[in-house]
Symmetry: C2
Subunit: 418 residues, 2 copies
């Protein structure tokens, strides 16, 4: 019954993840996977492996017929896409950790998988050690998945934790994250939310069959969160997290965004500190399920790559059931969000854009408001980006279209305005 | 690309789980699964469904060629096995929630699956809403799974939580669990650890390819835990949980048991309160992963049944990779455990059986010791069951054979005995 296939791997990249993978595969012969050749950029750099393992010519790997798996753990999205697409066309299965590449080339990658019949696995690109893609793909049926919210970027979560718990400044916390190897080489990718929205792009495909480019998904990072916002959060007994969220609406479409959010102390995501990631899935009468694990760092990433390699021995491939076997869901902009906005100058806040305002502080020490905005307003009108206002969602931020009139009336009544 | 199959279900059992399932399938036509007939025991009982849906004759379901899936959510293990085995032989796929039946008939069920080629899915029997079987089966390769520890019984966890947090007495807490529907109809099954060890039996198969009958796995429940033990735990800043554990040893074999355990506040399992379940998986350089969700109650159970039904549309079946495609692991007794034992009368404690004793309290108020015992001693010598001593493992309880001499010497030196 020994059904599994011998894997001969061509590896692109020999940084911390690549080298870790090389060592583990050497120590685990039972995995029946060996690295035949490694393609690197810098031939001069000293490596902890025999010199004849390395080449700088990608075609040595891509044209080697004995190599049946390409593992790609490099940092350059364009180069990665060229490698991956050639590998698939050359009848090799692929394991990739390049979220940016996957998000930007989603349509092409789906097409290539269909045309070539090769397997393209990328668990390491999502939440590193947490098998979130696999569970969305295999376990949660379309009709059962009510919502998913997640902390998918370990680096920003590390920074926010340090700002909150050790009261470090933003820059100090970022530097620490970089020193510990949790941050992308370009910190902007993490801090401004690009990495999170890239991951969310293809997680939406596995969760709901949605194909959307990252620039069509509303997102921001934690670049504007400051000590004042952290103080407000503490007063209200909240934490601040960068949360990627998707929720099925009553109209059958899906609301999705990646924005900072106030998190209640008893929310599962409050448990997620430092470089960890967490995913909360709400599915058809199961209440909430919570997956938690290391979301950044070389070892957790390598572990996900390793699990994907192990799966290739059984010819595992994503079926993209939500996309191909169901009626795929569509994103919707027709809903409302409950938001906190801090400001320096009230004149920059277009109050008329709000459906209603629930809270208002404009003293010396603190200037913020809490109100309800239509998602379309927020997406198409970027006043809140221009003046470095912090925009933070309230817990349970989504208000459905059908609820808005009733809630507005109630709010205005409470305020004594009608 | 609509590859999935129309499911026509014969349902055994119309209690809270069965009825919930019936309602949800009615409301979700896109699942393409309909319940054709329901077999019940008591024909006289009033049901919230058309009378012609019901029968008391199991053969009406088992011999109906149109029915291609049997879902079995009944409480009687012997009856369940007869139903399941006949269904598989009659070329029907099966979804089952009967942990006792599965644990007691593991070998036969494996054989039946092999012979008939039918699918037998039982996620609901393990941790209800947490997809632990699926993840062990599909994601964690044999060589990557270092250890797994879990709270698999929601009822005992609920009782312990109430004893700890609200200082309820044991009986009061049990009654509350029963009222809320978290406890088995026979509370002994939960409280004395039978339910947990039953689940652990087949989880060991999915995790490590181990086939063992429940009576060969060392277990006990929480029946002897008393307020004094809870006080000691609080002093040491621990909680007490009933923990099912399996750990790969250096010799390649596996240590496995289900015993009460002191849990540190920062252990993932400390997060698991009330009727929730939690699973901590340690895998090849991924550090720890944590899965958390509702582990008892009708809705979480029904949700797992529903996910299994959804999977049958794609002809999903367990491959039992660890068993059939790898060299399966074996259980080992050749290791040591660090244990706390409370006692009324010191004369009932065979101190000579301990490798060494690290702590000792024999005052008026509290009588307990902490020491190291060989697993064989504990398993074959049941002095600790006879006198209702509480036996509770310390955190990280497993001491490997190769470490024992060094640790013993160190401990005796510390005590000034050598």
């Amino acid at each position: 019954m020994d059904a599994h296939k011998q894997l001969t791997i061509g590896l692109f990249g020999f940084g911390v993840v690549g080298e870790g993978l090389y060592k583990v595969l050497q120590q685990t012969p039972s995995l029946k996977a060996t690295i035949k050749k490694v393609c690197i950029k810098d031939a001069a750099k000293k490596r902890n492996a025999p010199a004849d393992l390395f080449t700088t010519d990608k075609n040595v790997l891509l044209n080697d017929e004995e190599i049946n798996v390409i593992v790609e753990v490099i940092d350059d999205a364009n180069a990665a896409f060229k490698i991956v697409s050639t590998a698939l066309k050359n009848k090799k299965d692929v394991v990739s950790a390049s979220k940016k590449m996957i998000a930007e080339h989603l349509t092409e990658l789906l097409k290539l998988q269909k045309e070539t019949g090769q397997s393209f696995l990328c668990e390491a690109a999502a939440c590193a050690s947490i098998p979130v893609i696999r569970n969305l793909e295999e376990y949660y049926d379309n009709d059962l998945l009510h919502s998913i919210k997640a902390i998918v970027n370990g680096s920003t979560n590390f920074i926010l934790t340090k700002m909150f718990e050790e009261k470090l400044g933003f820059k100090e916390a970022l530097l620490l994250a970089q020193q510990l190897g949790f941050a992308e080489s370009n910190p902007k990718l993490d801090v401004e939310g690009y990495d999170a929205v890239n991951k969310w792009t293809f997680l939406l495909t596995h969760a709901y069959g949605i194909i959307e480019s990252p620039e069509n998904i509303l997102f921001t990072g934690i670049q504007n969160i400051n000590a004042g916002d952290a103080n407000v959060a503490r007063e209200k007994n909240y934490e601040i997290k960068l949360v990627a969220q998707a929720k099925k609406l009553n109209n059958g479409k899906v609301a999705a965004f990646v924005l900072p959010q106030f998190i209640k102390q008893d929310d599962h995501l409050a448990f997620v500190k430092n470089e960890y990631n967490g995913v909360v899935i709400e599915s058809g009468f199961a209440d909430k399920q919570f997956f938690y694990g290391k979301g950044a760092g070389s070892f957790p990433t390598a572990s996900a790559v390793l699990s994907d390699i192990a799966a290739l021995r059984y010819q595992y491939h994503y079926e993209y059931k939500k996309l191909y076997h169901h009626k795929p869901h569509q994103l919707d902009n027709d809903f409302y969000l409950r938001v906190y906005v801090s400001f320096d100058d009230l004149r920059h806040i277009p109050r008329e854009n709000f459906e209603w305002i629930e809270e208002w502080h404009a003293g010396e020490q603190r200037k913020y408001l809490v109100g309800v905005l239509s998602f379309n307003q927020l997406k198409n009108n970027d006043w809140w980006r221009k003046h470095n206002n912090s925009l933070i969602l309230l817990p349970d931020p989504v208000i459905e279209n059908i609820e808005i009139k009733k809630l507005k009336k109630k709010s205005l009544e409470l305020a004594g305005l009608i």
